[in-house]
Amino acid sequence: MKKRIINFFDERIDLAPIRNWVRHKTISQHKHSFWYYFGGLALFLITVQIITGIMLAFYYSPNPATANESVRYIMERVHYGWLIRSIHFWGANFLVAVVFVHMFSTYFMKAYRKPREMMWILGILILGLVLAFSFTGYLLPWTTLSYFATKVGVNTPLVIPGIGGFLARIMQGGADVGAATLTRMFTLHTVVLPLTALILISLHVLLSQILGTSVPLSQKGYTEQTRFFPDFVMRDAAVWAGGFAILLAFATIFPANLGSKVNPVMPAPPGIKPEWYFLFVFQTLRTVPEIVAMGVITLGALIWLLVPFLDKKSSRGEKSRFFTLFGLAVLVYMVAMTITAYITTEVH
């Protein structure tokens, strides 16, 4: 039966080149190969998010009068609705964490060096998309926390001279966060961002297939080749299964809760904070004027994006201590600001 199906396709489309490619493709294995599994895990989690997101969209209603109620309906009435939403909720958190690990491991292994500059740039853009997914999805349950988090988010670009007001107005869809903002966030979250992600992720994966995985400079001469199929694919599948098991455990043991519906006229509640992955931005905004915070974060992001072109030593196959220290400084800053924001709660 299997042979007949393969023959059916073989007679119509010549599958031999694909078979040959799979048969001969190998992956470099070395001491730090473990970190590469995070890329595959991120791809798997994105798939989980797409599937659960489509399922949630069957019931969700993007209107201030019904949004919170529709999510409550999913959680309380729809069969396994709580589980699907919890997987989507935890999946988003896991995805951000895994993409960050993937980015920092890529950075410290200097995998961005020539000829993989474009892979790095695509990866950073995908990280931006993942954060944009989180931001746009956050408002959808229309809770007090999500409302004010979005208010802060859409007002932040106002400090950008010239186009700040334009950007804020496009995101808000009106003078303030309201019904228009909710429909815009829903459209971005379910149509615009997924289509953009599909293009960027396809290019990222395509480049990783064309260029293969990078070998860290310290591991040159200490690598061995593993067959892509079935060896590497099976290991990747095992990591995906493990990741999904942990995700399911979190979704089951700590189901996502639904905050109270927002009353847009009432004050922001005490101790309000964004999700953990935006805490370093939140703490920066709380510490320095927003124009300085935005300037530092934008400049940092730009330098981070252009690192493959700035770190010329790595591309020449030499050690670049400065960029290792720079990466460590960025990591320490993000962790320190996150912890500071987490432990300091000003309640008057």
Partner: protein
């Protein structure tokens, strides 16, 4: 170097495509920018009655498509201000014990006249005009007799 026929046609074609792209992109961007708030937005609203406002209390309401707050001070005077924090737009909270406004998002503080007491906000809260008509309290952006 002289431009040959092929180069000339390429340039004309590129210019044509650029203009065409502009014709497509411009309406898309214009479509995404929401229309401005209509000029018939009321600039004076009824908020509440004096019976409902105890001394040292606040009432939040919507005015000019933004959150606003009406405060009755211990001495009986009324103050109305925008409740939208001038830092990043959260709605401020009224602290009756100290007669000031506090933003729970990033910690800005404003006095009862909207003046910044503590950053990160840099600009004061806009102040509105309160007027009474019998026991009815109105808030406006212009000083009119109710």
């Amino acid at each position: 170097m002289a431009t040959n026929r092929r180069q000339f046609l390429n340039r004309v074609l590129t210019a044509g495509v650029t203009v065409l792209a502009g014709y497509v992109v411009y309406p898309v961007i214009r479509f995404l920018i929401p229309p401005s708030v209509s000029s018939d937005e009321p600039t004076k609203v009824f908020v509440t009655t004096t019976d409902e406002m105890k001394p040292n209390s606040a009432k939040f309401f919507r005015f000019l498509d933004r959150p606003a707050v009406l405060v009755r001070l211990p001495n009986g005077d009324y103050k109305a201000l925008s409740a939208k924090c001038t830092h990043l737009g959260c709605t401020v909270e009224f602290k009756p014990a100290k007669d000031f406004f506090y933003c729970n998002c990033h910690g800005s503080e404003f006095d009862i006249n909207g003046k910044v007491l503590k950053g990160p906000a840099a600009l004061p809260l806009p102040v509105y005009v309160v007027s009474l008509s019998g026991n009815k309290i109105f808030v406006s952006i212009q000083n009119r007799i109710a």
